[in-house]
């Protein structure tokens, strides 16, 4: 254990013991330090270079079934003591009006120290080299755009996050994680049509991402894709069979199911999956997994923000709801074991139930089998964004590009298409699951004002009927 790691543990461990003496039935303290650098190349200039650093401590206490939380900047003993006193006072103040008493699952203490910085450390590739590679990506995107690109942006960032977690169960976990992300956005014009394409790759690791990514995977791809979008038509409106490419099937897993399976939403009754544990909620072809153990994936973490080890969670197995995403608290409420989903954005927020890397397991269908039998349908590719209202299971998935399916064959290209659906209806309507698989959707998932890194993926999927937000019937 390095001197710094030991010093911070020495700073925060007494606060946990003090919380117990003051009457907390549970307490945890998280010290988090993040350092990152990024740069933006735009219109053939490396025009902005960024560096950020944050450090602080979050203190959480459970007193008489009431939670109190306080955060402060920096690693300072006096501020930590002030924060603990304030968290205790707030919990006590609220306790008389807390009807749904807070609790935590009892867990065995964990002591561990894990470093996952990647093959290279952040300064093993110089800023000059990072800049040079980003400029080269932009040059290749412009070349692929055949003179039609009017704006190009390449962004690169890497960061290291150090987190110390201690709690009254005796857990002492230190993690040191690197993440890197490379993106390319191009805007092109042809006549009156203006289109934008955005590609992003990211991993849990170091700046080797810049060495490992081929231009065809990101910048050349963006340049080519935007040209296709210029030629694409708007999608038709109405209900259609929809085939999801692996670059968007993960978004369906994340939005349609994942958020609904978060333990806090289910416990409060705000998920449509409340009361459906052990019941069929999807076609028997469907198995959906959330897995924070996948090496190098953007949503992976060896421990969550509560010091619970990463694991594989099978949310839906052969169409049946089999597991929820739990924090220490929801595991206690559901009288089960925590499964490593208590994640916090940083020291200023308490952990809540979150996804990591969420995906459909592959099946056996071929792409040709999926197209067969579709008289008029939509083939969606390149997921962009989405959201869900868990209480109704109403979700939306937005794609950058799509194609018509007509008489069992791929037809005209389409652009900027969104589809919406209701969770159970949509999952039940999955009638083909492909044998292929991709997971390349590194992003930031938002919930309750907190953003955490996630990824998602899957094989090709076919849904027999969905609403398409198009323009003409």
């Amino acid at each position: 254990m390095s001197d710094l790691v030991r010093q911070v543990f020495d700073l925060i461990l007494p606060a946990v013991e003090r919380a117990r003496r003051l009457g907390a039935t549970f307490a945890d303290v998280r010290a988090v330090s993040s350092t990152g650098s990024s740069l933006l190349v735009q219109d053939e200039r490396a025009e902005k270079m960024f560096h950020s650093h944050s450090a602080g401590i979050g203190v959480r206490v459970l007193v008489d079934g009431s939670w109190g939380f306080a955060s402060c900047d920096g690693f300072d003993r006096r501020q930590l003591e002030d924060g603990l006193e304030q968290a205790m006072a707030l919990a006590r103040l609220a306790a008389p009006v807390v009807a749904d008493r807070g609790m935590v699952a009892s867990v065995e203490p964990v002591r561990d120290e894990v470093r996952r910085l990647g093959r290279l450390e952040v300064d093993q590739i110089s800023l000059e080299e990072k800049r040079r590679r980003c400029l080269e990506h932009e040059r290749l995107a412009l070349a692929a755009g055949e003179g039609k690109i009017v704006n190009s942006m390449v962004g690169y960032g890497d960061a290291v996050r150090r987190q110390w977690v201690v709690n009254t169960a005796g857990t002492q976990v230190y993690t040191e994680l690197g993440r890197a992300r490379l993106s390319c956005q191009v805007t092109a014009i042809e006549g009156k049509v203006r289109q934008r394409n955005f590609q992003v790759l990211g991993h849990q690791g170091g700046p080797e991402l810049l060495l490992d990514v081929a231009p065809e995977q990101i910048s050349v791809k963006a340049g080519r894709k935007v040209l296709e979008q210029l030629r694409a038509k708007k999608a038709p409106a109405g209900e259609f069979p929809v085939v999801f490419h692996p670059t968007i099937s993960g978004l369906l897993a994340h939005e349609a199911l994942g958020h609904n399976a978060e333990g806090d939403s289910v416990w409060t009754g705000q998920s449509i999956l409340a009361g459906k544990f052990g019941e069929p909620i999807a076609s028997p072809l469907v198995t959906i997994v959330d897995d924070s153990t996948l090496a190098g994936k953007y949503g992976s973490e060896p421990y969550d923000s509560e010091g619970v080890a990463a694991r594989t969670r099978t949310i839906v197995k052969d169409g049946v709801l089999t597991e929820l995403l739990h924090s220490l608290e929801t595991a206690g409420q559901f009288q089960t074991q925590p499964n490593g989903c208590g994640r916090a954005q940083d020291h200023t927020s308490p952990p809540i139930c979150r996804m990591s890397n969420t995906f459909f397991q592959p099946g056996e269908s071929t792409f040709e089998e999926m197209l067969a039998g579709i008289e008029r349908g939509i083939y969606l590719r390149e997921g962009h964004e989405g959201y869900v209202y868990p209480e109704r299971g109403q979700f939306l998935c937005r794609a950058h590009e799509a194609q018509m399916i007509e008489h069992g064959r791929l037809g005209e290209p389409l652009r900027d298409v969104s589809v919406s659906g209701l969770l159970v209806e949509t999952l039940m309507n999955i009638d083909k699951v492909g044998g292929d698989f991709e997971m390349i959707f590194p992003g930031t998932c938002g919930k309750s004002g907190q953003g955490v890194p996630t990824d998602c993926g899957g094989p090709h999927l076919r849904v027999s009927k969905m609403v398409v937000g198009g323009e003409s019937a």
């Binding site: 330090s33 960024f50 006096r78 002030d82 749904d100 203006r194 200023t348 298409v417 969104s418 919406s420």
Partner: protein, 456 residues
């Protein structure tokens, strides 16, 4: 609640005490070789009560202190931000910003940081009454609202939060700007879910203000939200087809805010906005007039200066359907050889402030009453792509309009089309409005909109 010592509320009441730190950061950046530099030091105090499952779940407090330094060399920008840094780190951070600026490409379009200017008026944004609020106050408001929601429907599931915050900031630049300001805010937000078997209704709303006197924490908020959630039960599909779309105050404001985002001079100069080459051209119905005004007293997004220290100006962005003026920061204004409107952000972007939408002559009820067959969208933006103008999104909180009345809630429906076509078909703006401080929100109506739902 008080935490005297390291983080005293006195610092928020006297933001000028932060100025030496900002000025020192600028001085250090200049000493390290920056041709231009500015720095911002801010601190904030917040207290938040979280509601889950119709009960208070937790009470949370935070103090934070933040520093950012921008340095320019040859027009290239280096930006450093830090939370939790010690004062002794200042020189290192300033040197880092300059080193980053040196590694950026030279930019001939960068001329200078803004000069000191006075805005035409100074809006008030700080209410000491909010700074003196306690956790007891917001727990009391929250409990009152939860009880009122239970009175409407005893098994309604309520979540949300209640919070207040206060902040102070100081800004200094190498062009001589020295600014110190403080501000406050308070809000209540609830989300209600009601269930009858598998039939679910839900609704969300909030109230927020910068001044306590403008803030209504009465229990009617959660009661009203719960009543509306009940009205969202028994949602039905609607046929796919073209129809009239009425955007309620929140949905209408979100659409206008999206449109104003497209008026960013940065997006236009970079040619990625749907408004490129449309300045002085018609982009929508002549009923569309929108003014950005960051100088309104007590406005939610008010402030006399932008994040570069430039004085804010009132800008009529759209005037009777014509794209009248873009929003600028110092960089884009110099590049366009025009006046800086004071809408700059620290990292080089542009953002709007309070938006004033010109209102019509008839009430929202009259606008709806004239619709034989249509859809009323209560919450949610149409979320246009601001590059292409394409619209393809879900109508998540919407009612079917039949014979001039809200008939039933709509399930699983979407809207598609083009933003500029939608704006061209805008045929009415209401006289009445939702009164969010500094941002009055009228209802608007758009003819002939493509709705997707049942059938094709």
């Amino acid at each position: 609640m008080s935490r005297e010592g390291h983080n005293s509320t006195a610092e928020i009441e006297r933001p000028e005490a932060l100025l030496p730190g900002a000025a020192r950061a600028v001085e250090l950046a200049r000493k390290a070789g920056a041709e231009w530099a500015d720095a911002s030091v801010s601190l904030s105090r917040g207290l938040n009560v979280v509601v889950e499952k119709s009960s208070i779940k937790s009470a949370e407090a935070d103090w934070s202190r933040h520093l950012s330094i921008r340095a320019y060399v040859g027009g290239g920008m280096g930006y450093v931000s830090s939370s939790g840094a010690a004062a002794s780190d200042l020189a290192e951070l300033a040197e880092k910003a300059v080193a980053l600026a040196r590694s950026a490409s030279p930019d001939p379009d960068f001329a200078a940081l803004p000069d000191p200017q006075s805005p035409s008026r100074i809006p008030v944004t700080f209410d000491p009454k909010i700074l003196s609020l306690t956790a007891d106050d917001i727990i009391g408001w929250t409990c009152g609202n939860l009880e009122a929601a239970r009175g409407v429907r005893s098994d309604a599931i309520i979540s949300g939060d209640a919070a207040f915050s206060a902040g102070a900031g100081a800004f200094a630049s190498s062009s001589g700007i020295r600014i110190a300001r403080n501000s406050t805010s308070v809000y209540l937000s609830f989300f209600a879910v009601v269930k009858d078997g598998s039939d679910v209704g839900s609704f969300a709303d909030h109230t927020s203000a910068r001044f306590l006197d403008d803030f209504d924490p009465s229990p009617e908020l959660a009661a009203r939200i719960t009543r509306r959630a009940l009205e969202y039960r028994k949602a039905r599909r609607v046929p796919t087809g073209r129809t009239t779309l009425v955007l309620g105050p929140r949905a209408a404001f979100d659409l206008v805010a999206d449109l104003v985002s497209a008026a960013s001079a940065e997006s236009i100069q970079r040619r990625r906005s749907l408004l490129v080459d449309r300045l002085d051209g018609t982009i929508g119905s002549e009923l569309l007039t929108v003014t950005d005004d960051g100088l309104i007293d007590r406005g939610l997004y008010s402030g006399p200066y932008d994040a570069e220290g430039a004085a804010r100006r009132v800008v009529t962005v759209f005037d009777r359907g014509r794209f009248n003026a873009a929003l600028h920061n110092s960089y884009t204004a110099h590049k366009a050889k025009t006046q800086n409107t004071g809408h700059g952000q620290r990292t080089g972007g542009i953002s709007s402030t309070n938006l004033q939408i010109a209102r019509g002559e008839h009430s929202a009820a009259e606008l709806i009453g004239e619709v034989e067959d249509g859809v009323y969208l209560e919450i949610g933006s149409l979320d246009p792509d601001l590059t292409s103008g394409d619209v393809s999104t879900s109508l998540d909180f919407a009612f079917k309009i039949e014979k001039g009345e809200l008939a039933y809630p709509v399930a699983n429906a979407m809207v598609g089309g083009s933003l500029l076509e939608l704006l061209g078909d805008l045929d009415a703006v209401s006289a009445d409005y939702r009164d969010d401080p500094g941002n009055p929100k009228p209802t608007i109506r758009i003819r002939d909109v493509q709705i997707s739902s049942e059938g094709d």
